[in-house]
Symmetry: C2
């Protein structure tokens, strides 16, 4: 199949550091190439891929959101996709909504994966207008605020099966990985560890916007002897940190649309203790691959009996549901589906 993958211009594919969307695009693209598809990746020129790479700009970078330079490059990228559209059997956009008007006149089946949170009131008029654009959600939960949109499927994220190794034994500590921000609730993770008298390793970056929160509400709590704050880490360190943990703590306080760190944890065989928000009930099987909890008492009870979770079950869950191959196969089914939709729409018009 001739497939176009269209990435945002903010980050290269795969990203240098943080960048969930671009990581997933990379895993999907490389898996489709591995399966023998002809894939074209529209992404920044510093991207690394075995697909054909077409770029609106040489170097990705984090633009200042106040100037609109990113929009200029994204507009150029849209035009590049447009001009080559008929080369492809299907075009897969990962660029939010900017391309929606353009897709009206693309004589090619297309689908858009929405990677972000959708519970924002300003999205309602947008998706009411573009109610016919075929969309993929990354969890069933993600799509709830926009029930009238043209959802064609939910495709969970996946990781290459050999990206993380199975760690049959833990070293007994807990891990918190990601960002330090109010909705991630590292304060809850600290309380769980302290109450269970277990060490907690925190591998998390602090965005500029979250520095006041970090300084005022978190910093002092990091002084506890059980708490170790190690900042932002690379893939290798992440594997070691999560793989040797007794559990990943994910005590979020927002409608997480997916939560890729949970499947990284499963890939290592490490169970997850997560608050039951957003995608969590879909990703985490309660009492099988960890615990989905509603409050700190439940979280602490779960942490106390984390040894009851079979780490092999966690790894198997990853292998059966969350590999890049699984994700790519699901997307290939979506591509076939939008091709069929496209053909039957054509027949109706004739």
């Amino acid at each position: 199949m001739k497939i176009a993958q269209v990435a945002p211009v903010f980050e290269r594919v795969p990203p240098k550091a943080y960048g969930g969307t671009e990581r997933v695009i990379s895993y999907l693209t490389e898996e489709l190439v591995r399966q023998g598809h002809e894939v074209t990746l529209f992404a920044s020129g510093d991207s690394i891929t075995r697909a054909r790479l077409l770029s609106a700009m040489e170097q990705s970078r984090r633009f200042d959101a106040r100037d609109h330079e990113w929009l200029m490059y994204q507009t150029i990228a849209m035009d590049q996709v447009n001009s080559l559209a008929t080369e492809f059997d299907v075009i897969h956009f990962h660029t939010d909504y900017l391309h929606f008007p353009l897709t009206r006149k693309l004589a090619v089946p297309h689908v858009t994966t929405l990677h972000g949170r959708l519970d924002l009131p300003q999205l309602v008029p947008l998706y009411r207008h573009f109610h016919d654009i075929p969309l993929v959600s990354i969890s069933e939960s993600q799509r709830l605020p926009l029930p009238g949109a043209n959802w064609r499927a939910t495709v969970h994220h996946g990781l290459p099966s050999d990206l993380y190794e199975f760690h049959p034994q833990s070293e007994g500590y807990f891990a918190f990985v990601g960002r330090i921000s109010p909705e991630k609730r590292v304060d809850r993770a600290i309380e769980i560890a302290v109450r269970c008298e277990r060490p907690l390793y925190i591998a998390a970056k602090v965005d500029k916007a979250d520095e006041p929160y970090f300084n005022e509400q978190i910093k002092a709590r990091l002084n506890h002897p059980l708490i170790e704050y190690i900042g932002e880490i690379g893939d290798q360190e992440k594997q070691r940190l999560i793989g040797n943990a007794a559990a990943l703590l994910f005590p979020i306080d927002w409608p997480e649309p997916f939560g890729i760190v949970m499947i990284e944890s499963f890939a290592c065989g490490t169970p997850v203790i997560a608050y039951r928000h957003g995608s969590i009930p879909e990703i985490l099987r309660h009492r099988a691959t960890g615990f989905a909890v509603s409050n700190q008492e439940e979280a602490i009870a779960a942490a106390t009996c984390i040894g009851e979770i079979d780490r092999e079950v966690c790894r198997k869950e990853f292998e059966h549901r969350f590999t890049a191959k699984h994700m790519a196969d699901n997307y290939l089914r979506v591509y076939q589906q939008v091709q069929q939709d496209y053909e039957s729409a054509g027949r109706r018009i004739q």
Copy 2:
């Protein structure tokens, strides 16, 4: 002719207060309607027009540039234009570059007026990529940074001929009208007035971003007995203020792409003393409708002999070059030109 005018979503047409682009779109639209054309205006639902109005949103508002809500509504507007495109003989965009990819597949002649400054380095790759999109500049000077773009014409702005009355006599004071910001150099205007011992009325708003500049560099200078600061004013007061002035002072320090207040001044019969930047040599005829100067000594000399300028010549200049009718006639020529371009491109393809 069936003409679409596509306005930005930030402001209604005409704008409630400041909003140069939306004012010009309004004058052009109403003049085209007056001449008997079938005009459709794509603009916010609170716009006031005799044209057919189609709206992506009910109320215009100044969006926070950091969230992307404006982009959502502009995307909806693009889709509305797209879906009705074949109804029109020509589509006239005033929305920067967002629609460029879309125009590739519009089976309709189109042209885009660029209303802003173009001397920003990030625009170079954008217009290199979109080198074929037909553009109109609002001054010859405006287009200098992008010589390779597909400029089809320069069309100066125009005002309805009865918007301002001719004031044959001045009351001897000077006027400064617009914004207080570093590039507008109200400090120069104050110095000119003080050195000439003439009163200066300053009718100007201070944007939030310019408040530190206003407080630190301007505020104290407003205490001089010759200086009267009257804040932001409406159209009626503006006419009275400019019309009774001996000269409008426009001592700018940036490449002004047009400078609509200069033609407002001419409409009142009031000469202009302006620094020779950007569009000024095109708009102001030196020694006929005012003085184009290069430094404060020249400005003060000009202010001293401002009585030598014939106010009737200023009004005539407005009537001959800067009315809405003049602007609309020029645009109608552009529309014919892009129609011809479009047809000959079609013939080449056949």
